[in-house]
Amino acid sequence: MDILTAFGSGLATAFHPSNLLYCFVGVFLGTFIGVLPGIGSMAAIAMILPLSFYLEPGTAIIMIAGVYYGAEYGGSIASILMNIPGTPSSSITCIDGYPMARSGRAGVALFVSSIASFGGGIIGMVVMALLSPGLANLALSFGPAEYFSVILLGLIAASAVSNGGALKGIAMVFAGLMLATVGVDLTTGDLRFTMGVPELRDGVNLVIVAMGLFGVGELIASIRANSSGQGRQTIDYSQFYPTRAEWRASLGPILRGGGIGSFFGALPGTGQTVASAVAYAVEKKVSPNRANFGKGAVEGVAVPESANNSATQTAFIPTLTLGVPGSASMAMVIGALMIHGITPGPRLLVEHGDLFWGLVASFLIGNVMLLILNIPLIGLWVRLLQIPYRYMYPTIIVLICIGVYSLNNNVFDIWLTLFFGIAGYLMRLFRFEPAPLLIGFVLGPMMEEQLRRALLLSRGDPMVFIERPISGTLIAVTAGILVYGLWTTFRARRRSRSASISMSE
């Protein structure tokens, strides 16, 4: 009953006109940026972050969340129409969405993806409302040792099973932790690694790191990918609504996808891409229509879309209740809250309950907006995809420049963005993922502070992390993930090496 009351007051917050407006702005801009191929939700959030500084914290977070799930949704539009995933997590949607579009059923595919995203989003929101208070209560008993361990778990989980392999993922986390030490040490007041540059006294700005690594890095890589003409689809509006049989066929996948997505979204380090991939694999096993998967099955669009959107919502659970983000986008949400003076963690529900429940309720409104926005606007997104990229990318670079410049009105920030942009592109070439770096960068100061506190309380005894039961369990889980990540990396390497040896023979 408590949850219902809290949700009710959250609805009242979310229905506040300014919150409604910025929820709409967020969802619209998010979808807009998400539709652009190669530019993901990370870059979208980074571009919107400077704008959010002018808003109330609750409104800002509602807008950022709207950008996030709007971008995830927008990504699936590009997947279906052009076979280019706008965001990595929508790559699964390409498998059946693009064949549907090629057979002239793009309208149906887009419609089903809207409905499935909506269904998944609502499932994820319900899971979040039910689980968060309990998890936050548990976390209220956390001391510094538990916090340190849960942050460590979040960092390792987010990096050990990354695309470039466990070693590179973890190395990026540590690079992020080190980058976070630049500036004034909050405990002692000493300056660290500022190289005598006064602008670095306050540390490196999160927006700059994110804009450089993701915005600029992704942009450079997307120019050539988009300059070649892709197969663009025309939409037959007479074939927009799914048939009754297709409605019925989509219902099960939406529910299953939503359930699977909620689970993986809430786990640190998995998130939407894993959620939609697993949900698709499961659906392929259980669906009566499995023979048509990959050839344009409507279930194959419904299930990843539902899974990825519910995971988008449940990703907020660990982010807000523990203060541990599962992905780089969630790290940005944490960074945004901190800029507004709010520390995410178990106390957030107690101290800023209105903000939390307002956000949960805004998911409902935002998902309704996505639905009503996207059905009439599909034509607009299609036209957007037809704008040649040579007009798009200079526009994006201008937006990045102005966004960064607006932080402090200082061109030093642009030079720093250039530095991180170069780093981001080179990292991409050398198969280093920027996401773990950003997560480490955001969690670094918190981790260092909790480490120092835990050691102070235990009089310098590092065993405190293992001896306290919750902390010890978290460390054991972390070690398990680490071993698994390293094992899979080396196994994959050995396999690819033996494959190349047998090829050369």
Partner: protein
């Protein structure tokens, strides 16, 4: 797996320049870890009871060093870069940011946006210079309307002219 990894990589264009190429990333990380370890030592490590300012960067650097050596070993002789580098776009985008940084303070926002657009679109051959200039002018005008007029950001449209 983190959710926000960069977009899918075009596997068809993977090429193999040199065997040592793959180790460059790891080597850069080794250099970075040495920098932070040395800095951490200089700042003071303190005691386990009261870790000094330099302790966290030092030990983070130490672990990174270990990982980076592992990466070098792993990547030596790996199959090259993840995708064919696009150095022209890389240079154009880098130069466009530099142009913005050099001009925004001196000439104001509108000239900076105009020049940034010209430089960023320079590798594109399908658009002639007048077309690029028109695009730059449109973006400069739109930035003025959106950021200075509508959002009221404290930028000067023109400066020092």
């Amino acid at each position: 797996m983190p959710v926000d990894e960069p977009g899918p990589v075009d596997q068809d264009v993977t090429h193999r320049p040199h065997a040592w190429w793959g180790a460059v990333g790891g080597a850069v990380l080794v250099a970075l870890s040495i920098y932070f370890m040395a800095g951490g030592l200089g700042l003071g490590l303190g005691t386990p009871f009261r870790p000094g300012t330099g302790a966290f960067p030092f030990f983070a650097g130490l672990i990174l060093m270990g990982l980076s050596i592992g990466i070098i070993v792993q990547d030596l002789g790996s199959d090259g870069l993840a995708e064919r580098p696009d150095w022209i776009s890389f240079l154009a985008i880098g130069a466009s940011l530099a142009v913005f940084a050099l001009t925004a303070d001196r000439f104001g926002l509108l000239p900076a946006v105009f020049l940034t657009t010209l430089v960023a679109s320079s590798p594109d051959r399908s658009l002639h210079l007048p077309g690029k200039a028109v695009l730059g002018a449109i973006l400069a005008g739109a930035s003025w309307v959106l950021f200075i007029k509508a959002l009221g950001l404290p930028f000067d449209a023109f400066r020092g002219i």
